[in-house]
């Protein structure tokens, strides 16, 4: 899967905006988006929020987890535990990137937030690599990892699957004379 596809899926998340135009309720296939009145917050999907922001028709309200203290707490917890901590949004990496690239003026302390999210990401990916390594070196058949996000899985997917395939190939050498199932 392409990281661009993961980003596409991330854009379905809802975010609050404050429009500066007015529009009646619109009926889309994915659902209804409520009437837009200037100055009143309304929940829309991220793709629409970014489009409106680029046309300067709205102001994006920062997500409640995009806050320095909250992210610092998550980062500390991530560093302490060996397992993956549950994080506020399954698309935290993409949402951070999208919102901070397009709407950095609406989000206070954008740079620190970006750094914190990158730290959290690095810690999680390092843990993922560690568990992939122990998975392969102990030749286990089954592993369970909770609280992983799609983007993290995606970066490691092709490498891990290929190496597991190769390991299977080499392991099948140990049992000679096994017939192949066709």
């Amino acid at each position: 899967m392409d990281p661009a596809e993961v980003e596409f899926l991330a854009e379905k998340e809802m975010v609050k905006i404050i429009p500066n135009f007015s529009l009646d309720k619109i009926y889309l296939i994915g659902g209804d988006l409520g009437p837009f009145n200037p100055g009143l917050p309304v929940e829309v999907p991220v793709w629409l929020a970014l489009n409106l922001k680029q046309r300067q028709k709205c102001r994006i309200v920062p997500l409640e987890w995009m806050d320095i203290d909250r992210l610092e707490e998550i980062r500390e917890q991530e560093r302490k535990l060996d397992a993956f901590t549950p994080i506020p949004s399954p698309y935290y990496m993409e949402l951070t990137k999208l919102l901070l690239n397009h709407a950095a003026d609406n989000i206070p302390k954008a740079d620190e937030i970006r750094t914190l999210v990158k730290d959290i990401w690095d810690t999680r990916v390092a843990k993922l690599r560690l568990s992939a390594d122990s998975f392969i070196s102990q030749q286990e058949a089954h592993a369970q990892l909770d609280n992983l996000t799609l983007m993290e899985i995606n970066t490691t997917r092709s490498f891990l699957l290929d190496s597991l395939n190769y390991m299977y190939k080499l392991r099948s050498n140990l049992q000679p004379g096994r017939s192949q199932d066709y």
Partner: protein, 295 residues
């Protein structure tokens, strides 16, 4: 995602080879030392050192794998194969001690593949060979994973040169995953032309962004200098502009740096108009660009 007119066939599973796999075909060209158990009449030309017309019984010669596999038969003793030295006792203990130090590319670029094929030849050491190959792979896995996932836009030839072909394909998979992720991460919107991301920039301007990574909240942009330098100034400005959100104390500093930077872009534009190439000191570019970001 890659649209190719040719779907490469992967190498086969374990002791089987895929007929159409290029890797397996190249693998089967490896020469193995063997000893003939019966005479081969009128085939003297196969062995360069002998002048006789036939190959007598008991000759030691080298044969490619495909020929050896075809001629090998347990019951009618036509050929007996010796293991290449990489699979023998001595090297097996080396692999057991520390698999990561060995240069597997030098040991025959198809260490794992050839090892799997050797198991066809009924040597008494077969289980140990199979086990050694597996343990070597597991031992080297960590290093391959780390090097492939952390080398973004660098020269990887030093990392890859000690890897066997199987590990190289793994390395490539890891690198492509990393590259596509970084590309998406670094995509930014161009205020001028709607939302253009890095792919558009590369497509439109041939620009190669070497490293666009976030570091301590700043963005260090190192751009490779291509012959057409004029678009350099024009194209990177829109990227920078949305990033210039500054506090009051740094505004003056930024303005100073912006003027440095705009003189640089002016140089580029002039050069383009005069159709001359200009020498930009790398210190010019690299000092002004990151400084803007720190501002």
């Amino acid at each position: 995602m890659d649209s190719q007119s040719y779907m490469p066939v992967p190498p086969g599973i374990g002791m089987e080879e895929n007929f159409f796999s290029l890797d397996d075909i190249l693998l089967s060209h490896e020469r193995l030392p063997c000893r003939t158990e019966s005479a081969f009449p009128r085939l003297g030309f196969l062995e360069k050192s002998s002048e006789t017309r036939d190959i007598p019984e008991g000759t030691k010669m080298e044969m490619p794998l495909w020929l050896a596999k075809g001629l090998y038969e347990r019951k009618r003793r036509v050929l007996s194969l010796e293991l290449p030295k990489v699979y023998r006792e001595g090297w097996r203990t080396v692999f057991g001690a520390d698999p990561t130090v060995v240069d597997l590319h030098k040991m025959g670029p198809y260490y794992y593949g050839l090892g799997s094929q050797m198991l066809h030849f009924d040597s008494p050491e077969n289980p140990e060979i199979a086990n050694t190959i597996l343990q070597t792979f597991i031992g080297r896995f960590r290093r391959t994973m780390d090097s492939s996932q952390n080398a973004y836009n660098e020269d990887t030839s030093a990392l890859v040169e000690r890897l066997d072909c199987l590990e190289r394909s793994l390395f490539k998979a890891g690198q492509s995953g990393l590259n596509s992720f970084q590309l998406v991460l670094a995509a930014c919107s161009c205020v001028k032309c709607g939302s253009a991301d890095e792919n558009d920039l590369i497509r439109d301007f041939g620009m190669e962004v070497i490293d666009m990574s976030l570091w301590d909240g700043h963005i260090d942009l190192v751009i490779s200098l291509q012959p057409q330098l004029s678009w350099l100034g024009r194209s990177i400005e829109p990227i920078f502009r949305p990033r210039l959100k500054r506090t009051d104390t740094t505004r003056r500093h930024t303005r100073q740096k912006m003027s440095d930077y705009s003189s640089l872009t002016d140089k580029c534009v002039q050069a383009d108009e005069k159709k001359t190439s200009i020498n930009i000191e790398s210190s010019d570019l690299f000092s002004s660009v990151p400084a803007i970001m720190e501002g």
